[in-house]
């Protein structure tokens, strides 16, 4: 316990450079409890990106104490996450934790995910829960890994921590055209030589209806075709020609 407090004190300064980004669309049932759980676990700035919700997500999140960025047009989960990353970059945060708004991710694992980032052993840490997948999801993961050449366990997990190098890559225009935060984002990061770490975490069931990606066979078919094309075209062959995250010139505040 004493060691933990010592560690927390050492990390207190680092926590001030962190924020949690939560993309949310019509999550009024779960957003308040997600925010409260995070607030009960650690002192960290919270940013909810409201993806043009038609319910009360925005006001509930604001009342719960989060900074709310409100998108006037639906941009999808990745578009909302990128908005949060761009906001964090403009505010000078060094580390960004991304979590889902449906209550799947447990706030108590944030510290475990931040640790390898703080110690500098990786640039992106991913909260992994391979046991959660249905048969459909497992088939999708297997296919995506084969196509993209990525060797990560849980490709679709949205519970991640990014450091400044990863944020620099993910706030570029190149990353804006991506639709999902899995294969496209990971291969883009991989092409810049970003280092990954996977941390085993528990995940809860969604509080608010089915997953938007795996909601129907048609949606899965679209997702799989989309990911297959993206994975094949963005796959990295060998180490030659790797780009460097440090060489990215941050966009000016006036730029869009």
């Amino acid at each position: 316990m004493a060691r933990k407090t010592q560690r927390e004190a050492a990390y207190a300064e680092q926590y001030a450079n962190c924020c949690v980004v939560i993309p949310a669309r019509n999550e009024e049932d779960s957003i308040a409890s997600v925010i409260q759980q995070i607030q009960a676990t650690c002192t960290i700035d919270l940013v909810v990106v409201d993806d043009n919700s038609s319910d009360e997500t925005k006001s509930i999140a604001r009342n719960a104490g989060a900074t709310v960025l409100s998108l006037p047009v639906n941009l999808g989960a990745w578009g909302a996450t990128q908005t949060g990353l761009r906001y964090a970059q403009s505010k000078g945060y060094h580390f960004v934790v991304t979590m889902d708004a449906d209550g799947q991710h447990e706030a108590e694992h944030i510290e475990a995910l931040l640790e390898p980032i703080f110690t500098g052993t990786c640039d992106v840490s991913i909260g992994t829960c391979v046991t959660r997948g249905s048969l459909l999801r497992k088939i999708a993961w297997f296919a995506m890994k084969r196509v993209s050449g990525l060797s990560l366990e849980d490709i679709t997990s949205g519970f991640r921590v990014y450091n400044q190098n990863a944020i620099a890559v993910l706030t570029t225009r190149e990353a804006t055209l991506l639709e999902y935060q899995d294969v496209g984002v990971l291969t883009l990061l991989h092409s810049y030589g970003i280092r990954f770490a996977e941390i085993e975490v528990n995940m809860q069931k969604r509080q608010n209806g089915p997953s938007r990606i795996f909601c129907s066979w048609l949606a899965v078919a679209y997702y799989m075709c989309h990911t297959a094309i993206l994975g094949m075209s963005k796959r990295q062959y060998g180490k030659k020609g790797r780009k460097k995250a440090e060489n990215i010139t941050p966009l000016n505040y006036q730029d869009f």
């Binding site: 990106v49 578009g79 869009f256």
Partner: protein
């Protein structure tokens, strides 16, 4: 007679394009593509023997296939270019929407701060 239809069609397309530019319905940039296309249609309509003259030199036995094939290739290319531009515009639009959300939050913060400031 068929030749005249295609010639008149080509010339009418050229006139329509110039009209659209005059009325600000079409960007001049796009006219750079469409006016030559319209002129080629008109020229081939007026002088159909051009295709008969080109056909043997490129190994085509049936001359009229050339304008059809060229048209198909040109349209495919044009649609591909349009999709590239659409992707670029989508990126711009998404980033503007993101920027708008960030600026709106900054503005709200500023308004709240100035409301709490002692006068």
């Amino acid at each position: 007679m068929t030749y005249w239809i295609s010639a008149v069609g080509g010339l009418l397309t050229a006139v329509l394009i110039i009209y659209l530019i005059r009325r600000d319905h079409l960007h001049t940039r796009y006219a750079l593509w469409w006016i030559p296309v319209a002129l080629i249609i008109a020229i081939l309509g007026l002088f159909p023997q051009i295709t008969d003259w080109i056909a043997p030199s490129i190994g085509v036995h049936y001359g009229p296939v050339i304008p059809l094939l060229t048209g198909l290739i040109a349209l495919t290319l044009k649609i591909l270019i349009m999709d590239i531009e659409r992707s670029r515009n989508e990126t711009k639009l998404n980033r503007i929407v993101q920027k708008l959300a960030i600026l709106e939050q900054a503005l709200q913060q500023l308004t709240e701060n100035s409301a709490h400031k002692p006068k």
